[in-house]
């Protein structure tokens, strides 16, 4: 995971996410948000987060959210491309008698991910004690942090005020750091099986992206629940996300294999990436003059 950038000498690499941030507060905000998403947020406690999906009535994913509970407030981190629709959905459905206020944090709050070895990350935050449990956050001053370990390396996610990011980078990482770009972030996504709006925008069901673990069919009704329940009990998937490797660079977009199979490359790093296809059992796929080997994704996450 580390060494995402070209420069192998840097100790810290960081990525500033293009995500949308919304804050919900008020006595009924948990109930209100809970009615819109595929997971149950009623069970999460203070400084705990949950990853979830927003779907339309046809069960198709429209956005993914990382929801962090901060005492009486809920912070929702979504995809920038879907922000307008998601926010409209959240705001338009507030019941007249409910205490819910929705606030827009875009441009004011940001999420930054820092990639480093475990040792370097520990050196960076010597004074802090991270909770090693997944989805647990800590509050340091006016920042919220959570750490995820990947073998000997770690990823630190921080939610902070946007205008303090550069000071924070200078102070904590200085010349040992390098800001990575969207291509490097996509490389991290493909390596670790993380889906994003590049995948959601293709009008897909959670199962088609292997995201069933983010759907709680026992929580009660939410938009799309009927479709998800029907699919679970007797449905058959039409498409499935997979990872590819190729001997040549293949651009993202829709392709046809030599045998006429439709291949939709959702994210491409050139010779590897994600693609969608209907059930593959047989052939070695060829697109133009490129071979396409495929593999199942062991772990699938969202961001």
């Amino acid at each position: 995971m580390v060494n995402l950038s070209v420069d192998n000498m840097v100790k810290y690499e960081y990525y500033i996410h293009n995500c949308s941030l919304t804050v919900a507060e008020g006595e009924d905000s948990v109930d209100h948000i809970n009615r819109l998403i595929t997971s149950n947020i009623k069970t999460i406690s203070n400084l705990e987060s949950i990853d979830t999906l927003v779907c339309n009535a046809n069960g198709r994913i429209t956005d993914s959210l990382q929801i962090l509970r901060i005492e009486e407030q809920i912070l929702l981190l979504g995809n920038e491309e879907a922000a307008e629709n998601t926010r409209k959905l959240i705001v338009s459905g507030v019941h007249w008698n409910e205490d819910v206020r929705i606030m827009n944090g875009d441009g004011i709050l940001s999420k930054i991910s820092i990639f480093a070895s475990k040792d370097n990350l520990n050196r960076m935050f010597l004074e802090e004690e991270f909770n090693e449990e997944p989805n647990k956050w800590i509050n340091v001053g006016d920042k919220y942090l959570t750490k995820t370990n990947y073998g000997d390396n770690s990823k630190l996610d921080i939610v902070m005020k946007s205008d303090e990011i550069m000071n924070f980078v200078d102070e904590k990482m200085g010349a040992d750091s390098c800001r990575i770009n969207i291509e490097d972030w996509n490389r991290f996504r493909v390596l670790n099986g993380i889906m994003s709006f590049d995948e959601y925008k293709h009008d897909l069901l959670p199962s088609e992206l292997g995201l069933d673990k983010f759907v709680d069919l026992k929580k009660g009704c939410y938009p799309g629940q009927e479709i998800h329940a029907r699919l679970e009990s007797r449905g058959k998937l039409k498409k499935k996300i997979k990872k590819f490797k190729s001997n040549n660079s293949i651009e993202s977009g829709k392709h046809k294999s030599k045998l006429g199979r439709r291949i939709n490359i959702t994210t491409s790093l050139g010779r590897t990436g994600f693609f969608l296809t209907n059930n593959l059992e047989e052939e070695t796929i060829e697109i133009d003059n490129s071979s396409l080997e495929y593999e199942e994704l062991d772990i699938i996450e969202i961001c």
Partner: protein, 144 residues
């Protein structure tokens, strides 16, 4: 009466903690509301049932029909008989003395609905037909 997207900045000085707390730090509050003049219809069966349910409380109570997010299709209907709310945010319609209140925030979702009542043991009760709904849940409580 038709206007869109009221966004105002709320200065909040008393907050709880951390990133969203204190120091005059604030986020813009979003209140996107499309308000339209509401007109609904009520069938005779629904009106009779409303009168029966109100039991002479028509002067002090009203029926509030509203929508909230959720359900299989995106929004859920809600109906309550409550004491008449002292708020200018409601549009009021009178049906032979029974007042039906609809909040401005729900006006675009509920304008044009028809309220009916079916007196059957299975699947009976109040029923809403909504011309704004592109789809409805099988149970009739959710629309989108």
């Amino acid at each position: 009466m038709r206007y869109y997207t009221i966004i105002h900045i709320a200065r909040r000085f008393q907050r709880i903690m951390g990133i969203l707390g204190g120091g005059g730090f604030s986020l813009p509050v979003i209140s996107q509301t499309e308000v339209v003049d509401v007109k609904i219809t009520v069938t005779d069966a629904a009106l009779n049932q409303m009168k029966k349910t109100m039991e002479g409380d028509e002067d002090t109570h009203c029926l509030v029909i509203s929508a909230q997010s959720g359900g299989c299709s995106g929004y859920l209907y809600d109906m309550k008989i409550i004491e008449k709310p002292d708020s200018k945010n409601f549009q009021i319609q009178n049906f032979e003395g029974v007042q039906v209140f609809i909040h401005n925030g729900d006006s675009s979702l509920l304008n044009g609905i028809q309220l009916d009542f079916k007196d059957t043991l299975m699947g009976g009760g109040f029923n809403i037909t909504n011309p704004n709904a592109s789809r409805e849940c099988g149970c009739g409580q959710s629309f989108g």
